[in-house]
Symmetry: C2
Subunit: 145 residues, 2 copies
């Protein structure tokens, strides 16, 4: 799992869409980009990936934009990450399968660590993040401007 800037942008965009989910009107790339300080041309690519992954839908033409394909509590952070960096198998390492018995064990440990991180990320939905955000704003409304 990468947990890179790219992934962060994707989740932020989804959060922005989640915040306007009940409105029914689509959000434009420009608006999302401005709200979350994301380069709009880059965000465009990420949203296209999210669309192909079935997490968002788009409306073309004037007054178009993007909206969530599902309700915020039905989209997990893990889904977003797997969608955005799904094609990245990154097996530049020529060994597609372990050559030694030690290698197999090391990869078991790798998988165990990944599974643990995945469990955390699967446990959070967009709605969870929104709730956490709103809670924090209520407690200390002047902290973020």
């Amino acid at each position: 799992m990468e947990l890179s800037c790219k992934s962060e942008y994707a989740v932020l965009a989804l959060l922005e869409l989640a915040a306007h989910f009940s409105q029914g009107e689509p959000l434009q790339i420009r608006q999302i980009a401005a709200q979350q300080s994301i380069p709009d041309r880059y965000l465009e690519q990420l949203l296209a990936t999210l669309r192909r992954g079935g997490l968002v839908r788009s409306q073309r033409g004037a007054k178009g934009g993007y909206y969530l394909a599902r309700e915020p509590h039905n989209i997990t952070v893990l889904e977003a990450l797997e969608c955005i960096e799904g094609g990245n198998i990154q097996q530049t390492c020529p060994e597609d399968e372990p050559k030694t018995s030690e290698s197999a064990i090391v990869r078991e440990i790798w998988q165990e660590a990944r599974d643990c991180a995945h469990a955390i990320l699967q446990n959070y939905t967009l709605q969870d993040l929104r709730d956490r955000h709103d809670q924090r704003q209520d407690v200390n409304p002047m902290y973020y401007i």
Copy 2:
């Protein structure tokens, strides 16, 4: 955490050194590379990094080689990984600090996932991996040839 081929090579090399830890004689790069199917010139670089990180020591000259700096049960997998990919802060993302309140929350989730994976990796020592390996060999000695 990368969990790449590079990291796997490093742990495999450490495991090989751990297997010969009690002998007292150093292991040569060639031997480790042959045993674990690692390109020897690449392994050389990794061992140099591990040496600079204090995980292994080297003996130069004829009959030289590498040996573990500590006992196998005192070296964790996490240590190996942090050593081998330590310089990799990977903040190509220009945002050194979160710009929005949502961004801060997303990074908290990121950190939580990373911490979870780190906990797993810290829990395993080289000795643990050796034990697991030996156990498996005992139970089904024909499984790996």
